[in-house]
């Protein structure tokens, strides 16, 4: 039977486990998983949970790189487990750890509270330049105006960029690449008038200035959002704002 032939192939997964009730610190556990050519790392984890160890904890939802839930370190690189295929990884054991730079809650699950607070802090919605009623009609936008911010609206909040950012690792209060991409999505929108409000939240070391243009955040982004560009554009904006605030009515504080 061909099924027996398929089941012969296995892959070893080394997974960093942490169970807060019983473990003092995380340690690696190893699993031998039967695998097929079309199997993703997420499917391998699901196989472990279903057949080998039901206590293994990890986040996932959409299985198609849209929801941003299954970010983890795969062989030391921040990646989505759902679009990392076993056949693309080098032969030998696959090392799986929770995302770098975040506190571990349990196994591959990390704390996201701080990241959500950062997202909330930058006014993640359109603040209309000129308020309109429904009767006034829609806010119009040209293709060029859309292109100015469109890539930044593709962010799925998977936090891979934070796991790749050594400056976020050194300073957990750094607002970081993901939140800055979202900020630029709104600040770059021709319909938005909240630029100054958002700029006021990102000055200083905990704002854009922890960034030293390492640039790996953009390389690991599964949606090609280029968060490094968002952060560095806003360094310029923050610097201009510092020097020009005296010229603004009511600007100097």
């Amino acid at each position: 039977m061909p099924e027996a032939a398929i089941a012969e192939k296995t892959v070893e997964l080394r997974i960093l486990r942490y169970r807060p009730a019983s473990d003092a610190e995380p340690s690696f556990g190893s699993f031998e998983v039967p695998c097929t050519d079309d199997m993703s790392v997420l499917q391998a984890l699901q196989t472990i949970k279903d057949t080998l160890d039901g206590t293994l904890s990890f986040r996932w939802s959409c299985r198609m790189a849209v929801c941003g839930s299954c970010g983890m370190m795969i062989n030391g690189k921040p990646r989505l487990a759902c679009n990392s295929f076993l056949r693309h990884l080098p032969p030998g054991p696959v090392t799986i750890e929770p995302l770098n730079n975040f506190p571990i809650e349990r196994d591959l699950v990390v704390t996201v509270g701080d990241f959500v607070k950062k997202i909330e802090s930058i006014y993640p919605y359109i603040i209309p330049k000129e308020p309109k009623t429904v009767a006034d009609g829609p806010y119009l936008q040209t293709p060029a105006q859309l292109a100015a911010y469109e890539s930044f609206s593709d962010c799925i909040n998977c936090m891979l960029c934070y796991a790749a950012c050594p400056q976020f690792g050194e300073n957990p209060n750094f607002i970081g690449p993901g939140a800055m991409a979202l900020l630029q999505r709104y600040n770059g929108d021709s319909r938005d008038g909240g630029q100054q409000k958002r700029l006021d939240t990102i000055h200083g070391e905990d704002g854009v200035w922890s960034c030293t243009a390492v640039g790996i955040c953009s390389e690991v982004c599964p949606k090609h959002v280029d968060p490094a560009n968002a952060v560095n554009q806003n360094k310029t904006n923050s610097a201009f704002d510092f020097f020009l605030r005296f010229l603004r009515p009511g600007g100097a504080r």
Partner: protein, 132 residues
Amino acid sequence: MSERRPYRRPMQPHWWANPPYRAYTLRELSGVAVAIYGAVLFAGLISLARGPESFDAYLGFLRSPLSLLLHLLLLAAVLFHVVTWFQTLPKTMPKVIVDGKQVPPQTITQIATLAAGACSLILLLFTLWVAR
């Protein structure tokens, strides 16, 4: 009762020396070569202000094998800095939109590198023309 006890893993102490961060570290380190180049030129300016003897000593230093070796190393490091700096450039500037489409980062890098090369060439030719 909650079992919550978040565990924060320490940063790797030598993250900057290992891939993928090594390229970034080398790029930033090569900036030191630019500073040393500037310091060498500045030393020349100070020697010039001090008088002809001082400037001759400075020229003597420039002709020494040690200085030639230093300049060879600095030139290599600065060229590396130029190339990697313009690779980073598109990440540090606003998106350029032409005809409703974003200009690809590679195009910006190419144009900027060519412009820097052209400026250097013009400066070199001008210096040779003045010194002829």
